[in-house]
Symmetry: C2
Subunit: 304 residues, 2 copies
C-alpha cells in the first residue's frame, strides 16, 4: 500500500461516485435464496460455505456502486474457525473487485494484546499470511491512550486506517458517551483528532477516522468542528432510521470526509415489498443501493 | 450448566484452594521449547498446531492450582481460522480438566451484533457447535446500556458470567475512564452493579462481574463499596507490576469475590533466572504459580 488509507478511500469514492458503504452483516436467516437454505441446512461449515458464495455474488452486484464494504466480524466469529475463513475470503474477494475493506471488529486492549489485534487485522496476521489485511479497522477507545497507541503505530507503518468509536448509532449511546462536562464523546473526539495529526495526507484528511452515528445529525456539525481533518464513518443509515438529510456537515466541498454505511437496508432489499416488481435479489439489491447513493448525492456534496 | 457462573467460579476457587487465574496469552516467541520451535518454523497452521500441544501440556501442569484460565482472543485471532480452532481446542481441554474458561475478548457492539458476539462466545456459536461455550466473557461497555443488554440476556439464559471493563490495568486507563465527576469508571461501576442485581445467586454474588486492575489497589476499596455483590477480575499481577498486597478489599471473609489473573509471570516462568535450578518448564511454571497462590493466601482471605 503506497498511499495512506484516507487517500485510497476518497479516490475510491471519486471513482465510484458514491459515498455509500455496504455493511456485510450476514444474518443467515435473512439471506436471499438459494444462500439461506444452504446456510441453514448444515452446521458451521455449511453456513460458512454459503457465506463464501453469498459474498462473492453480492460483491459482484455492489462493486460498481460502493467504494468500501464493512464486514461485521461478529457474524463470522459465531461460525468459529470456518467463519473466520469465510471472512478472509470476503476480504480477498472485495479487494479483487477493487473495493476497500473496513473491518468492523471494534477491538481494543492494552499493550502487546492491542499489538496482536492490530497485527491480526491490519498486518496480515502471524507471518503475514493468516488473514488478508483490511484497509481499516474500527477500534474501541475505552481503555485509554496507551491502549490506542499500538493501533496508531500499525496504521502508520502499514498505511492502514482506523475508525475510533466516538459516538455510536444506538439509542443508548449516551449512557457513558455523554458522561461529564464536556461529554466524554467530545473528549474522545479531541484525542482522536490529535492522534491523527501525524497521519494527514496531502489533501488534508487523516488516516485516523471516527465513528459518529448517522442517527445523530444534530451533533454532526459539532463533531466536525472538533475533528476537522478526521474521516467520519457514519453508521445507521436505513434500517436504523438515519437518512441522508443532515449528513452534509460531515463532507467537504469535494464530497470527501465521510462514508455512510448501510447494512440491512441493502442486504435485505430482496425482501422489500416495494421492490418485488423487480426480478431477483440482485436487481433489488442494486436498486436499494442506487437509491441510497442518489439520496446521499441529493442531500450532501457526495460525488455525482 | 445448572448453576450460575459465580457459584461455579467460587466453588472452583474452594476446590482448588486458589484465587489465581492463568491468562493464556500465547506469544509464540516466548513459548518454552519444543513448542517455540514448532510454532515458528511454519505458517499459521504450524503455529496453531504448536499452540494446541502447548495448551494441553500447560493445562496439565496448572490444573491442580487454578480454578480458571483466561484465554486472550487476540493471540489466537492473529493466526486466523487455524488460530480460532486452536482456541476452541484450548477451551475444550480446560473444561476436560475441570478448569473454567473466562474468554478475554473484550467484545462490545450494538443490538443484533452484540447478540452475535454473545452467541459466538457464550452460546456455542451458530447451531451450538461452532465454538465451545466459555464460562464467562469480558465485555467493553463504551457503547452504552442497550448495547450491554444482549450480553446480559445471554448470561441470564445460559448461566454464563460477564466481566465488564470498569477500570483497566494499563498505565493510561484514566485517559477516558477517569473523565468527569464522578469519574466515568464509577458511573460504569454503578451500572454494572445494578445490571447484576437480577443475577445474584444464593451466596449473594452476581454472575455479572467487573474488571478492575490489580495494579490499582488504592482504588479497590472504593470499587468494592460501589459494587458489593460483583465478582472482580483483577488483571495485572506479576509482569504488569501488581502484587497481592492491597488486594484484600476485593475478597469477602470466605475468600470469595475476586479472581486474580497472571499471564506472563506464569507463562514465561520457564525463562526466569531464579528458577533455572528447577528442571524443565513444567517444574518452573508450577513453582511460579504456586508462589502466586501462596502470595494471595498470605495477603488476602483467598482459601488456604
Amino acid at each position: 500500500m503506497t498511499k495512506g488509507f484516507a487517500q485510497r478511500l476518497f479516490a475510491a469514492v471519486d471513482a465510484k461516485r458514491s459515498a455509500a458503504m455496504v455493511g456485510l452483516d450476514p444474518r443467515l436467516e435473512q439471506l436471499p435464496e438459494p444462500f439461506r437454505a444452504r446456510a441453514l441446512t448444515g452446521g458451521a461449515d455449511a453456513a460458512a460455505n454459503a457465506l463464501r458464495e453469498w459474498h462473492r455474488a453480492l460483491l459482484d452486484v455492489i462493486a460498481p456502486l460502493t467504494p468500501a464494504v464493512k464486514p461485521q466480524a461478529a457474524f463470522f466469529e459465531r461460525l468459529g474457525a470456518p467463519g473466520i475463513a469465510a471472512l478472509a475470503d470476503a476480504v480477498e474477494q472485495a479487494h479483487a473487485r477493487e473495493i476497500l475493506v473496513v473491518m468492523d471488529a471494534k477491538r481494543g486492549d492494552i499493550g502487546s494484546t492491542a499489538e496482536a489485534y492490530a497485527e491480526a487485522w491490519l498486518g496480515g496476521g502471524h507471518g503475514g499470511h493468516a488473514l488478508p489485511r483490511s484497509d481499516a479497522l474500527t477500534v474501541n477507545p475505552y481503555l485509554g491512550e496507551d491502549a490506542c497507541e499500538p493501533f496508531l503505530a500499525a496504521a502508520k507503518s502499514s498505511g492502514a486506517g482506523l475508525f475510533f468509536l466516538v459516538k455510536t448509532s444506538n439509542p443508548g449511546a449516551g449512557t457513558f458517551q455523554d458522561h461529564g462536562t464536556p461529554p466524554l464523546a467530545e473528549v474522545v473526539a479531541l484525542r482522536v483528532c490529535a492522534w491523527g495529526e501525524a497521519l494527514r495526507n496531502a489533501s488534508g484528511w487523516s488516516d485516523v477516522g471516527a465513528v459518529v452515528g448517522a442517527t445523530r445529525p444534530e451533533e454532526l456539525a459539532r463533531f466536525r468542528a472538533l475533528m476537522p481533518h478526521t474521516p467520519f464513518l457514519l453508521p445507521g443509515y436505513g434500517a436504523q432510521g438515519a437518512t441522508a438529510a443532515g449528513l452534509a456537515p460531515a463532507f467537504d466541498a469535494q464530497g470527501h470526509g465521510a462514508i455512510v454505511n448501510a447494512s440491512r437496508s441493502v442486504l435485505n432489499a430482496h425482501a422489500r415489498a416495494d421492490l418485488q416488481h423487480l426480478s431477483g435479489w440482485e436487481t433489488r439489491t442494486e436498486a436499494a443501493l442506487r437509491e441510497m447513493v442518489e439520496d446521499l448525492r441529493a442531500a450532501t456534496s457526495a460525488p455525482r
